[in-house]
């Protein structure tokens, strides 16, 4: 009996993934597929590739693709788990900041593709003022959809900066300079990276994760006992990071 179409596609897929396969016709596809993922992830994780060198990066990408196969026809949305993969990758352990640099590059990529912000600080302040005092503690907020938060024990922003084209200075990084709390956000057309104080970082990332005002304040005070709620609300509503009051 003639094999069915699903069967033929399964067999083709198996041959495609068999790197020892001898059929040069399937091999032509295999080469393209391998190169596509290396190039696509190399574009997203350009600094990671510079830090490891291309041969290391390509080998890691091949292993990543094998353990985290793509499930979407949109290659732009692929590769978000590379940071976690690198954190448990048995090679390159001496570059212990590598996974956090990958997280930063993915956050930039996501910020680029996020929905456009809407609303205005005035409308947010008016909506906030209209909330009865007894309900304010349980209020949730909507953040600019492009905002991403990350923290690292390593100076990842400085590492990222010295690997930008045309970076000024001698390119040296003091790896013991300490950790950073970062916010990535697309302003106008370009994502920007900002260092945040520990309290603001805990506050905003809690709100972004859906916490209400009371829980976000708790998190902020835990991170920094001097955190001031009024200042933080005014600052981040005015900048548009806190985009609206949730309904």
């Amino acid at each position: 009996m003639r094999p069915s179409l699903p069967e033929l596609q399964r067999r083709f897929a198996a041959a495609l993934q068999d790197s020892a396969g001898a059929d040069s016709r399937i091999g032509a596809y295999r080469n393209t597929v391998v190169a596509n993922y290396r190039n696509a992830l190399g574009a997203t994780y350009r600094v990671v590739r510079e830090l490891t060198g291309t041969p290391f990066f390509n080998t890691a990408v091949d292993a990543f693709v094998a353990s985290h196969p793509s499930t979407s026809g949109d290659l732009n949305a692929y590769g978000g788990e590379l940071a976690d993969f690198l954190a448990s990758y048995p090679y390159g352990r001496e570059l212990d900041y590598l996974a956090d640099v990958a997280r930063l590059e993915w956050a930039l990529d996501e910020a680029n593709r996020a929905a456009d912000a809407c609303g205005s600080p005035e409308a947010t302040l008016a909506a906030l003022a209209a909330i009865p005092g007894s309900d304010v503690a349980h209020q949730r907020f909507v953040l600019d959809p492009s905002c991403r938060f990350l923290q690292s024990p390593h100076p990842v922003l400085r590492i990222w900066q010295v690997h930008q084209p045309g970076a000024a200075g001698d390119g040296r990084v003091d790896l013991r300079a300490g950790g950073e709390q970062l916010m990535v956000r697309r302003e106008a057309a370009t994502p920007v990276i900002e260092r945040l104080p520990a309290g603001d970082h805990a506050f905003l990332s809690s709100l972004a994760a859906g916490a209400d005002l009371a829980a976000a304040l708790d998190a902020a005070l835990t991170a920094d006992a001097t955190f001031d709620l009024g200042t933080a609300l005014r600052t981040h509503i005015a900048s548009g990071v806190i985009m609206a009051v949730a309904h």
Partner: protein
């Protein structure tokens, strides 16, 4: 893209990969909308996996429809191929066997997509390096039947016809003869890599003389169909691209005068 907005070149239309504009927002989409304000735009998808026996990816389709509704494209096209099986995507244009099973399946899927989008799509022939022994009809009969059964238009890639003719011994003349001129919505041209045992469609070289000659025959048969030259890797200077485009325009002008 920025350069396009600044210089407003005299180009008849623009074509983009649909998936590159699947984002919820952001600068790329905003730029495409500004280009659309001045030019027709065609959406050329590479990831729908039309011929896959997995269920159609509804999320992918939803994003394609959202984009098409936003851009109001001159044409939406996809490939006569598959990319995924059992939930795993290879993000490449993989070959179909050309038999009745595959034709039934592909036609059902094309109709499903057309119904969902509320518009006719065009289906493009792909270059291939593997020919299934399970194929029972030539690729061109299969392609012509897709248009006939679904009402879809065809995007004829003349370079892919040439590459497949070389790789599989298909007769390019019979290929052109099998395609009904009225079904052809667009033509693609590209360069290939002929350095190994298989001719590889790289979109990274000038259009070969043999492909230009096949293109002249295609235009003689199909009429002056809108033509796009694909060049995605090792992209040369704008002057080189303009010379390639001018060559295509001469063939089209010649056909228009002869008609």
């Amino acid at each position: 893209m920025r350069e396009v907005l600044d210089r407003r070149p005299a180009v008849p239309w623009f074509e983009v990969h649909s998936e590159n504009y699947f984002a919820d927002g952001g600068p790329a989409l905003a730029t495409l909308e500004r280009i659309r304000a001045g030019y027709p735009v065609a959406l050329h998808g590479v990831g729908l996996s039309l011929g896959s026996t997995d269920a159609l990816d509804r999320e992918h389709l939803r994003k394609l429809k959202r984009l098409a509704d936003r851009i109001d494209p001159a044409l939406v096209s996809e490939h006569m191929c598959w990319s995924s099986v059992d939930g795993r995507h290879f993000n490449d244009l993989l070959p179909l066997p050309y038999n009745e099973d595959a034709l039934d399946h592909l036609c059902t899927r094309v109709s499903e997509v057309q119904d969902y989008l509320g518009r006719t799509i065009a289906v493009e022939n792909v270059s291939s390096y593997y020919a299934f022994p399970e194929s029972t009809v030539p690729e061109y009969e299969f392609m012509a039947a897709v248009a006939e059964r679904t009402g879809a238009r065809l995007l004829v890639d003349v370079n892919n016809i040439y590459v497949n003719a070389r790789n599989h011994g298909i007769d390019p003349t019979a290929y052109l003869a099998a395609i009904a001129p009225a079904t052809v919505a667009e033509i693609h041209l590209a360069g290939f890599d002929d350095s190994g045992p298989i001719v590889i469609d790289t979109h990274g070289a000038p259009v070969a003389p043999e492909v230009w000659s096949l293109y002249e025959r295609a235009i003689a048969r199909f009429g002056p169909v809108p033509t796009l030259i694909e060049w995605d890797t090792d992209i040369p200077s704008f002057d080189v691209l303009q010379r390639e485009a001018a060559t295509a325009q001469r063939v089209l002008d010649h056909a228009a005068v002869a008609a």
